[in-house]
C-alpha cells in the first residue's frame, strides 16, 4: 500500500512529529511504501538543523534523517510554511537576503502541490495534527 503522511504539529509543542516518526518506521517495517512525508504548519520546525537538544533527549531530527536516508524517503517541508517560520535552505536564504540557512540535510523545501500530489497518488493519507 502507498501511504502519504502529513504532519502539522510542532516537534516540541506536540507529539505529532514523534508519532509520525513511529508510524512511518512501522509502516516501512511492514513493507509498505511511504509516498511522501509532508511537513506543514508548525511541523516545519522538525527540519531545522539548528536545534541542539541535550544528549539525553530524543533527537527526532537525526532519527528522521537516518530513516530518510536509509529508506530514501521523500521528506518535504512546505516552502510557504517554512519561510513564514524561518526554516530556509541556501537558495531561499539568498533570495530573501538572510544571513543563514537552516534546513537540515535530507529534507526538501517544496510547494503545497506536493501535498496535493501525495493525496492524489496514495492509497492512504494519515494526518498528525498538533
Amino acid at each position: 500500500m502507498k501511504i502519504a503522511v502529513v504532519v502539522y504539529g510542532s516537534p516540541t509543542g506536540s507529539g505529532a512529529a514523534a508519532s509520525a516518526y513511529r508510524y512511518v518506521s512501522a509502516a516501512l517495517e511492514l513493507g509498505h511504501e511511504i509516498t511522501r512525508v509532508f511537513f506543514y504548519g508548525e511541523a516545519v520546525h522538525t527540519a531545522t538543523a539548528l536545534a541542539a537538544p541535550p544528549q539525553d533527549e530524543n533527537d527526532l531530527l537525526s532519527r528522521w534523517q537516518q530513516l530518510g536516508q536509509a529508506r530514501e524517503l521523500d521528506l518535504v517541508v512546505c516552502i510557504a510554511a517554512a519561510l513564514r517560520r524561518g526554516v530556509l535552505d541556501a537558495d531561499e536564504a539568498r533570495r530573501h537576503e538572510k544571513e543563514a540557512c537552516n534546513l537540515a540535510p535530507g529534507f526538501t523545501l517544496s510547494g503545497l502541490g506536493q501535498l496535493t500530489d501525495a493525496t492524489l497518488n496514495s492509497d492512504r493519507v494519515i494526518t498528525f495534527g498538533g
Partner: protein
C-alpha cells in the same frame, strides 16, 4: 470505513465529542498521544460510544502515561504495527486534534 484518530485528552478538548457525532458502527476509533486518557474508565471517556464500535489505544502512549493496566475493558491496546494495519484496514482516516 473510517478510522478516527483522536490525540487530545477528553478532559482538555472536545475532539472526542466531535468525533462521536460522525462515527458510525462500520468505523473504528484509535486513541493516540493524550487521546489515550479517554480510554480510562471515567464518565468523560467512551460512555456515549456505541458498544459496537471498536476502540483501540496506542500501547506506547498508554505505557508512557502509566495507564496501560487501567484501560476500560472494551479498549484494545495496539502497538505501532497495529496502528499501521488499522490505517490500512479502514478505507480512510480522520484525525481529530
Amino acid at each position: 470505513m473510517i478510522l478516527h484518530i483522536v490525540n487530545k485528552s477528553p478532559f482538555q478538548s472536545d475532539c472526542l465529542n466531535s468525533c462521536l457525532r460522525i462515527i458510525s458502527p462500520e468505523d473504528a476509533l484509535l486513541l493516540i498521544e493524550d487521546g489515550v486518557y479517554a480510554a480510562l474508565d471515567t464518565p468523560r471517556g467512551l460512555a456515549s460510544l456505541a458498544p459496537a464500535i471498536p476502540v483501540y489505544a496506542l500501547e506506547a502512549d498508554c505505557r508512557a502515561r502509566g495507564i496501560l493496566d487501567q484501560l476500560h475493558a472494551s479498549v484494545k491496546p495496539t502497538d505501532d504495527h497495529g496502528f499501521v494495519e488499522l490505517t490500512l484496514a479502514y478505507a480512510k482516516s480522520q484525525s481529530w486534534f
